[in-house]
């Protein structure tokens, strides 16, 4: 008998009582109108920053203000210029990315998390290997709760996707919150008016 069969047989001897799967429709009653002010507060509470822009020109202008040109900037957002190509780069070279400007899929109001799927990452490592992360989302791509968030995409069609809520952080040294543990040290979300 294989280990697999052994384990499955042992599970069959388990005595967990039968419980029905609960009806998840109750989660719909928790959806209230979107509140951008609350989103801003929660994103700031997790160390991120939220800004609104009307156009890509305005976005470029603000990015220019935020980051010096000497940084390696990678962008896959239409209209935002890169000065760094990710083609044929080794991991060591990719670790030199200073700023990554990426399209986020959508944002969640209750926790400020931006969902980004692999197709928007450029390369899988970019959202975490970059020093600073900027995510750009159309203003209407927002949901209230995580229950709604999990209805926005199908895991089956995804290879890799992640919710990112604020910059990377740790409190492993005496419970002191420090940003920039391994991933981005800083996260700005730009919501673009369409």
């Amino acid at each position: 008998m294989t280990t697999r069969e052994k384990i499955l047989n042992r599970i069959k001897k388990g005595v967990a009582p039968n419980v029905d799967l609960p009806d998840m429709s109750i989660a719909e009653s928790w959806i209230t109108p979107i509140n951008h002010h609350d989103l801003k507060l929660v994103l700031e509470s997790v160390g991120g920053d939220l800004q609104y822009v009307d156009s890509v020109e305005e976005l470029n202008y603000k990015l220019g203000d935020m980051f010096p040109e000497s940084l390696n900037i990678y962008s896959n957002v239409k209209g935002v210029d890169s000065n760094f190509s990710i083609k044929n780069k080794t991991a060591i070279e990719l670790a030199n990315i200073g700023v990554a400007v990426l399209n986020g899929d959508f944002i969640v109001e209750e926790n400020g998390a931006v969902f980004i799927s692999d197709k928007n990452m450029g390369l899988d490592s970019i959202p975490t290997i970059t020093e600073y992360l900027v995510m750009v989302i159309p203003k209407n791509n927002i949901v209230k709760t995580m229950h709604q968030a999990y209805k926005q995409f199908n895991l089956r069609e995804l290879r890799y996707g992640t919710f990112i809520s604020g910059p990377s952080k740790t409190a492993d040294i005496e419970s002191t919150l420090v940003f920039g543990a391994h991933g981005a040290k800083n996260l700005t979300v730009f919501m673009v008016n369409e």
């Binding site: 009582p17 998840m24 670790a95 895991l155 995804l158 952080k169 420090v178």
Partner: protein, 488 residues
């Protein structure tokens, strides 16, 4: 009673404390043999440094505080607990079906599934995979299952360098310690201790600034990520209907480990990590971080369904006594646990005895009900490390009746095994005395005599006398008083 409690301070020297003699003795014992010491003995060692114990207590309560604020912001919190509990309970009742479904879907997605009956088999599978890929440098994000299997030790013996990438775990790897907490593994270490450790291991300058130390660790571990041949992790949730697995971290170390350079990822999961559907993730992801650290969600909540081109993902599904627990009617609901650590953050015993006072890999209330299922003899004292106050059950996101199980384990342990002979003799003796009026009165008189005349000895006769003093005892018993006065 001590009239003056040592005032909690933020700065203290953990090395040069002047301690009473008794403490030095307990310290020595800890060094000799950790495994065979009971929770009470280990707790005594922990408490010998009162300043540090008080500081630890505060750090843990700080987590509980943040948790309360975060959960109270959700009006639907209690409903979420019901949903989470029901989803997990349902899954446990059909665990074989969901594991098979998960295996089918994951395999179709190009993920390789392995099954391991115990820690040994798990470690062998992992080692063989790494050897097959000629992987020499492996980065690993925090996994309590790998701690349970003592994987690192096994890999190192096989010539594979395994690097813990979670900052807390890396600190402990440097210091050669085990985690004292499942979410904040190095919570017991002060920044001064970590500063000294980094000076030695990372050549940092003398500092106890968490920002500077974290930055030093970032640079050190970046180099490890970009040179890693392979990566490893645990699993927070595995979704049966899609064959995906989810990892939750704040540092981003799991994501960076998987994506920076690694061509082989091995994720280890206990059989109980399965949930049926994608929509159920909403419930658990909303609760996990809020209940653990008070965050609305972990910084990274990452979903992996398929390996990237040129990479492989392997999942090892591990039993290691979980099916044994599943067959325990009174205790199998402990398998619902999502490892948020709220039960330990709220536990008065955990806060006052430290995570290292529990011999099992998972400390605190949940550890105390999981451990006896692994080895009832080895962990017989763990369910007794509780006041049964019930706070753990109140904060549990999946509604495990932890304090009731602690109580039930005590009965089971006393009934199933005989090493508690003194306790059972005392209990039988006690039952005899209490069921015979004349015996009861006789022992009452003897007890009274000792308390009045040999107070010190009476206090020393019981462990409960440690650090406590007997209250003043009335000159006569209530019965005597009644006989003398009520009839007048």
């Amino acid at each position: 009673m001590e009239p003056t409690q040592a005032k909690p301070q933020t700065k203290f020297n953990t090395k040069s404390e002047t301690k009473p003699k008794a403490n030095l003795k307990t310290k020595k014992i800890i060094k000799q043999q950790t495994q065979t010491q009971t929770h009470a003995q280990l707790a005594e060692g922990f408490l010998s440094n009162q300043l540090k114990a008080s500081w630890f207590n505060k750090s843990i309560w700080y987590q509980r505080d943040k948790r309360d604020v975060a959960t109270k912001k959700l009006n639907e919190w209690e409903t979420l607990r019901e949903l989470a509990s029901d989803i997990k309970a349902h899954t446990l009742s059909k665990l074989d079906e969901y594991l098979i479904e998960f295996e089918e879907k994951a395999t179709a997605n190009g993920i390789n599934i392995h099954w391991a009956s115990d820690d040994k088999e798990h470690n062998e599978i992992a080692t063989n995979l790494l050897k097959k890929h000629n992987a020499k440098k492996v980065v690993k994000s925090k996994s309590m299952l790998s701690e349970e299997c003592e994987l690192n030790h096994h890999l190192e013996n096989n010539g594979i360098e395994i690097i813990e990438s979670d900052l807390g775990e890396r600190i402990l790897q440097f210091s050669g310690e085990k985690p004292s907490h499942i979410v904040m593994p190095a919570i017991h270490k002060t920044k001064e201790e970590i500063g000294e450790l980094f000076e030695e291991k990372l050549n940092t300058k003398k500092s106890n600034d968490p920002v500077y130390l974290t930055q030093a660790a970032r640079l050190h571990l970046r180099e490890k990520f970009i040179n890693a041949d392979a990566s490893m992790s645990g699993v927070n949730f595995a979704v049966a209907e899609t064959g995906s697995f989810v990892l939750c971290t704040n540092e981003g170390n799991a994501d960076l480990g998987l994506t920076a350079n690694s061509k082989l990822h091995i994720a280890s999961m206990g059989i109980e990590k399965i949930i049926p559907k994608q929509e159920h993730l909403g419930v658990f992801v909303r609760m996990l971080a809020r209940n653990a650290t008070g965050q609305p969600i972990t910084t990274y909540t990452s979903h992996f369904t398929k390996p990237n081109k040129g990479s492989e993902i392997h999942i090892i599904i591990v039993d290691n006594n979980r099916t044994k627990l599943l067959a325990e009617e009174k205790f199998n609901s402990s398998l619902k646990c999502i490892r948020c650590a709220a039960c330990m953050n709220t536990c008065p015993v955990f806060k006052n005895s430290g995570g290292h006072s529990y011999n099992f890999v998972i400390p605190g209330p949940i550890g105390a009900i999981l451990a006896p299922a692994h080895d009832i003899k080895k962990y017989e004292d763990m369910p007794f490390a509780s006041t049964l106050c019930g706070s753990c059950s109140n904060v549990c996101p999946v509604k495990i009746n932890i304090h009731e199980q602690l109580y039930d384990w005590r009965q089971e342990i006393t009934q199933r095994k005989s090493s508690f002979t003194i306790k059972s003799i005392m209990m039988k003796g006690g039952a005899f005395v209490l069921s015979h009026t004349w015996m009861y009165r006789l022992f009452g008189k003897i007890g009274g005599f000792f308390v009045h005349n040999f107070r010190k000895i009476s206090t020393m006769a019981t462990p409960w006398g440690k650090g406590r003093e007997l209250p003043d005892v009335p000159k006569e018993s209530f019965k005597d008083w009644w006989d003398n006065n009520a009839k007048k």
